[in-house]
């Protein structure tokens, strides 16, 4: 029996290692499209927190409004949705999807992009601004920062998460449309995803995004 136990423990070692690697913190976001009211607080707060120019149409997170098939984008201080009245519509907040198989990480010629805890970060000391990542990203989530002259994108507010705070877009969402947390067994996000039907954006590209959408309409790409 002793020998059997020993062999068993030897065999279970790789399994234990895999479970341990899965249990390492991996952050994800869940967006309920039904709850988004298009107030644009997240866009303004994100720009303030991360020093992205307020008046230029570039943003780490942006809101797309769909009205009778027409798409209106909010990515500056101005809220274009307040002028639109009477049409049936809905709002979709978008941001970097922090793909597990990220095209921007794969194409970067200087390895400036890398994964930490499931978050894709840009090393701005290394980035040369060649914009390969901008063409590779299927979500259009990365852009060139006009002042730093290197590419910039959502970091899931890494500096806040490591201090134990929520990302700023999650914090300022008045309806709780965005939820953020670790994606592991027993966590709040895991339980919601287990119970409900969710979708990711552009699953056909094989990027395995970490941003999940509830109640998402099929016209959204």
């Amino acid at each position: 029996m002793k020998r059997r136990d020993f062999l068993k423990s030897i065999l279970s070692l790789p399994v234990a290692f895999t479970i341990a690697s899965l249990r390492k913190s991996s952050y994800a976001m869940l967006i309920d499209v039904e709850k988004c009211i298009g107030c644009g607080k997240c866009v303004i707060a994100c720009k303030l927190e991360n020093n992205v120019p307020m008046d230029l149409p570039i943003s780490r997170t942006w809101i797309e409004g769909y009205f009778d098939g027409r798409k209106v984008v909010m990515n500056t201080k101005e809220n274009p949705f307040l002028r639109i009245k009477g049409n049936k519509g809905f709002f979709v907040p978008k941001l970097c999807n922090h793909c597990s198989n990220a095209p921007c990480v794969n194409v970067c010629p200087v390895s400036a992009r890398f994964h930490v805890d499931g978050i894709v970060l840009v090393n701005k000391n290394v980035c040369i601004g060649c914009k390969y990542c901008i063409t590779a990203c299927p979500y259009g989530a990365t852009f060139v920062h006009p002042e730093e002259k290197v590419t910039d994108k959502c970091t899931f507010c890494y500096h806040r998460v490591k201090r134990g705070l929520k990302p700023v877009c999650v914090l300022v969402c008045p309806t709780g449309a965005r939820k953020f947390g670790e994606l592991k067994e027993g966590s709040e996000l895991y339980e919601i995803l287990k119970k409900s039907r969710f979708r990711v954006l552009k699953p056909e590209t094989g990027t395995n995004p970490r941003v999940f959408y509830l109640n998402l309409d099929a016209v959204v790409e």
Partner: protein
């Protein structure tokens, strides 16, 4: 003969230094550079805090807010970034908006707003919202 040797040595030095830079010294290949950047990213300044910090000074308003309808809405949604205000502690460093347009950013009647109660144009038009409604309640 001599000049040819000098050129060769010079070429070897250039080649060697370029090789050493690209494969050993450049920040792209040094694994440490990731850790350095993570440290820089972690130490970035934050401008938004959380409502727990607001409670430290504004306990009276905090208690009213906790029992009210806006309790799911964080302080900084309406009042703006609070880190500067927590440092300076003066009225000018925080947003106190009471205009009708400011409330209508969220409560205006536009399509696709099903999650919250909206206000039509006719409801008390021209009157400041806070005249009747306490936003903290």
């Amino acid at each position: 003969m001599k000049a040819w040797k000098i050129v060769l040595i010079f070429a070897m030095i250039v080649y060697g230094s370029l090789y050493a830079y690209t494969f050993h010294l450049s920040p792209a290949v040094k694994e440490k550079s990731f850790e350095e950047w993570i440290k820089i990213e972690e130490n970035k300044r934050i401008s938004f805090l959380q409502s727990d910090v607001c409670r430290e000074c504004h306990l009276k308003v905090y208690r009213i807010w906790m029992s009210g309808n806006h309790s799911s809405v964080e302080c900084e949604v309406c009042h703006g970034a609070g880190a500067e205000h927590a440092k300076l502690r003066v009225k000018e460093s925080i947003v106190v908006e009471k205009s009708r347009d400011f409330c209508l950013i969220c409560h205006g009647e536009i399509s696709g707003r099903t999650a919250i109660s909206v206000v039509s144009e006719g409801h008390g038009s021209g009157v400041i919202c806070t005249y009747c409604h306490d936003p903290h309640r």
